[in-house]
Symmetry: C2
Subunit: 623 residues, 2 copies
């Protein structure tokens, strides 16, 4: 295996950005003392964020005309690489330059974008105040209001109920001066749905602005370097120009106009411009998983326990099948997700910098971002947990870094979109090409309107594919066989879902009951889609690998990824008559065989992630 080839493949299109982050933050590594109190952790994180801004990395994703570099992919790569150095810093940076700065850039117009140089330099620390105590997943239903008062030309921002409180807002408890506040826009003519406004929350002295009550979310499971807080607005007045008005404008006299007529469509277009945050979280989760696996694999290579006949020394943990089973399929999956993430970031970059107005490409990007975010963050939670356990008591000590990785990444499964909600969106997106007419995050009704045409097409495609997969030779080593299994599962699940929905619609059943009854089916379909897309991404990466022996080895990693998916879901493949009992047993054996085969390469495979040693300074790995 050619180490450079693997490294080049993994570092990918934005390798130079990865290298800049690695160089900037290694001396010293940004490791907070785990015994620091919350305030000291926050101060440390803010200090590090200033270093990043000074180093110029924060500018990457912004418009060139406002001090940026128009490098969307670079900006996401920057954020996700930070996750290997310090996850609080990653989230702090993500809030400031991704969410806050990103909203100003994407939802604002020229007058707002003039703030961007201060956003980039951190002279203007900001918040992204969308989630409320009462509404997180259903953000279209936030209760905060922004009511236009034509007599003064101002908006009145207000929290009408206790549940309208903005909650979990990063940068709010300590540092933020300004917030992008999402609120129901009301003019004398009526309500226009959720819009975003720039609302100052602290003055130059750091005191809350009049009418703004700021409280602290306090200690969290992790990410305690990020100052999450709560904002309550009591009739706070801001000028008309505070409205980020790219998708909705209020004239001085109170007349509302928008380039997008449908309120739902408008809101989801606005949300769609913010997809970058979700992509970055997926990448950060993957990056943190790489850190954990690097630590656990290196420990498993050196840690020995129990004698074995015919061996002089005790056996290294990684020689045990049970230990290989814990770490190596996880490593293969992490490679797969890494390549898929690289592909996703590339697509994000191309869609957002290409000036494309291709709605289909945008919708597909949103679906992939949602699906990858859910799958990658759940894998991260699971894998980091397994890594902790694989290091025994040592893995529980802060000095060995795994506790912090675990605690910091835990919230990824539910922030930037709850995973369970996201996967349902993915499935519904796949079911319909008509989302524009249905665009409504209150998605239970969403798939209801799927046209017969779409369903029929799906049913037909699946039938053909099914036959192909069923009669294939049961060869776990055949890349085509694995691909056809995963692709067939995806299509069968989608077609089955479509059939269930159509039947229920024809029978005029209660939509809530029907869709609720399908929830597990929806989730399975979405997962199957992502798994197949990730496998495709692995195949594309293999094609880019110039070194034949490396490509072959990575081909085995790819097989382990796919086989471990089939193994985990082999109940489904049986139920649907896709694999025989002997094929199923062959899959289990093949996973075991691949674990043994890849075991000698595990160290080199984690080295490929290229994480600087100072970021992995676990005491148990010291010489």
């Amino acid at each position: 295996m050619d180490h450079d080839a693997v490294r080049t493949l993994l570092d990918g299109r934005w390798a130079p950005v990865r290298e800049r982050v690695r160089k900037l933050l290694v001396d010293p590594a940004p490791r907070p003392d785990p015994d620091w109190d919350t305030e000291r952790q926050r101060a440390h994180t803010t200090e590090l964020a200033r270093e990043l801004a000074a180093g110029g990395l924060s500018a990457l994703g912004f418009d060139a005309e406002h001090g940026g570099h128009d490098d969307i992919g670079g900006s996401v790569t920057f954020i996700q690489t930070l996750a290997q150095a310090d996850l609080s810093l990653m989230v702090k940076a993500g809030v400031q330059w991704g969410l806050f700065g990103g909203a100003v850039q994407a939802l604002g117009t020229e007058s707002h974008r003039r703030l961007l140089p201060d956003v980039i330099s951190l002279a203007l620390p900001g918040c992204f105040a969308m989630t409320e105590t009462g509404h997180g997943s259903n953000v279209a239903a936030v209760e905060t209001t922004a009511t236009y008062d034509p007599t003064t030309g101002e908006f009145v921002v207000h929290s009408p109920t206790p549940t309208a409180r903005k909650d979990y807002i990063g940068n709010a408890a300590r540092d933020g001066r300004m917030a992008v506040v999402f609120a129901q826009l009301i003019t004398p003519n009526g309500r226009h749905g959720v819009h975003a406004l720039l609302v100052p929350i602290r003055d130059e002295q750091g005191q809350p602005c009049p009418g703004v009550t700021i409280t602290d979310c306090g200690r969290k499971a992790g990410l305690n370097g990020v100052d999450n807080g709560r904002l309550v607005f009591d009739q706070v007045r801001v000028p008309r120009a505070a409205l980020l008005d790219r998708y909705g404008r209020v004239a001085e006299d109170g007349t509302y106009t928008s380039p997008i007529e449908n309120e739902n469509h408008r809101f989801f277009t606005m949300l769609g411009t913010l997809v970058r945050g979700r992509v970055a979280v997926a990448g950060a989760a993957g990056a943190a998983t790489e850190s954990a696996l690097t630590i656990a694999v290196r420990y498993a290579e050196r840690r020995r326990q129990f004698d074995a006949p015919g061996r002089d020394d005790e056996v290294p943990l990684l020689d045990y099948l049970a230990h290989q089973r814990k770490l190596l399929p996880a490593l293969a999956t992490t490679y797969a997700l890494h390549f898929a993430q690289e592909r996703l970031v590339g697509r994000l970059h191309d869609v957002q910098t290409g000036g494309t107005t291709d709605e289909t490409a945008q919708r597909e990007l949103e679906g992939l971002a949602a699906g990858m975010k859910a799958v990658t963050t759940w894998r991260a939670t699971h894998t980091i947990q397994v890594c902790r356990e694989a290091c025994g008591g040592a893995g529980y000590l802060a000095e060995n870094l795994l506790p912090q990785l675990k605690a910091d990444t835990d919230v990824f499964t539910t922030f930037e979109g709850d995973n369970t909600v996201l996967l349902q969106l993915v499935a519904k997106g796949l079911l319909t090409e008509y989302r524009d007419h249905l665009g409504d995050l209150n998605g239970l009704q969403l798939a209801w309107y799927v046209t017969g045409q779409v369903l029929d097409g799906l049913v037909e495609r699946t039938a053909a594919r099914r036959i192909a997969a069923r009669f294939a030779d049961p060869d776990p080593d055949d890349p085509e066989w694995l691909h056809s299994l995963l692709a067939d599962r995806e299509e069968h699940l989608l077609a089955g879902l479509a059939r269930r929905l159509r039947r229920a619609r024809d029978e005029d059943a209660d939509p809530f009951e029907v869709l609720n009854g399908c929830q597990d089916h929806l989730l399975a379909a979405a997962r199957a889609h992502v798994h197949r897309w990730v496998l495709d991404s692995f195949d594309q990466a293999l094609e880019r690998c110039p070194d034949q022996p490396t490509r072959e080895l990575l081909g085995r990693v790819r097989a382990l990824y796919a086989l471990s998916l089939v193994e985990a879901d082999r109940g489904w493949f049986h139920e649907h008559d896709r694999i025989s009992s002997s094929q199923s047993k062959a899959v289990i054996r093949a996973v075991n065989d691949l674990c043994r085969e890849l075991r000698p390469h595990a160290g080199a495979l984690v080295d490929g992630f290229g994480i600087p040693d100072p970021w992995l300074d676990a005491a148990m790995l010291s010489p």
Copy 2:
């Protein structure tokens, strides 16, 4: 459902002990501030432990003649109930009164037991110094030595290498005065294997004793109220009487004698007396899971998100199938494990207080304790994670208690025996009635010597059972069908394992390779055994329930437990021709149906755990 009947059933045989703990620690609840530094958390925990001692609870498990109450079951119930109040306190108490005090009582003789009143009162805080940096799972290979010097009549306790350092030792970093130190016993006649000695580690002023170097393990993922530390001994001399000499004695002239000749057998007999710790950890993990589920179910009942057609208000989370799927099978499993734990504690009590010398009962107890510890702690880690995610961002805030539950219980999967190692012991124990001749935690060779007789018996029993299960009606509601599926899986896995081992032995294959290749099979067999035993325990509990409607409802809970196990492992049942595709799909449907059926009872079911409100004071649940 009769709430009192459920509560009585769950509180079980040691209900009065549960009530004492609940009353002692509710005003105020022992909640440390999550922002406290490590020292302050430790001081708080020590203070609480003193309250427990003052309240008399610490005496429960000790001999009546030394100030105790001979109530082993009560002492374990006491420790596991603490887990619902404060997990650091539970571990601190477990170290002092379970591990340290338990070792003095079980391994010492009269002169040592005279210390017990001071152990009970906490006048003598102590440590259990078994694990070393180099050896955790393979404790028979600890490197610390205790060499008898007949010229002075003393033992010299010494750490000969860096890896001989005692590590992760609770009570060592701050409070401990004395340690039970496990060391290789050496006399002029030779080595006698691992024995335990009482070694003072701090003087009256709290300074380390001469030759003892104490360092701090520092911050951990959780349990930061417990002062874990490291001990290094440099030729520390202790009197001959320091040896806990119930199972091995050194005369003044250095002559070694023991009631148990075989060194391995002796060591595992000594370890066997300490089984209580493992039982308590299983119970504590279950108890913490009950706390997490109570919080998550109550939140899911009140938290609403998304409108649905025909409903006035948004839909409570617990009405969604996906949410029910997260919480209700977990709740059913938690009930099942609760009843199994009650049974296990009862058996422990009866074995340890009955003065029984029945080796089979003791071995079976050890196997069940190991298996229950592994299964319950893994379920705890998984379920508490799911509960955290089911509460979204709120679940990530310390004020909602789930982060602390997660972080504190995380280490349970690897301490008091690594789960993966424990499950292998369970399987090997099941394979042989001849453990005495094989007794060796270096267990890779263990199952090697299984006699043909045992195997043949297993193979026959399984064949009969298999036919019964296979042709049964596919009725997920039939308790017998579920039981026969689980019992058949257990026996088939064991018999298959035995056949593989016998074949390999006949072929004279390399034992390490063979046993390593079977590791996943071993783990599956052990899990299947525990799952079936837990189901039996549920059935026994149902028989004790006097109220018919309650028994029926709990019967549905039992069905959900068993069905969710079958569903999770349906790939196996297919592969082995135990269920058809239609049965498999019926199982999935039955799980969904049971989720819907039990949803209205979820609140009452978690109320049944009887956790005092002050222990569940989550901000998000405040009125």
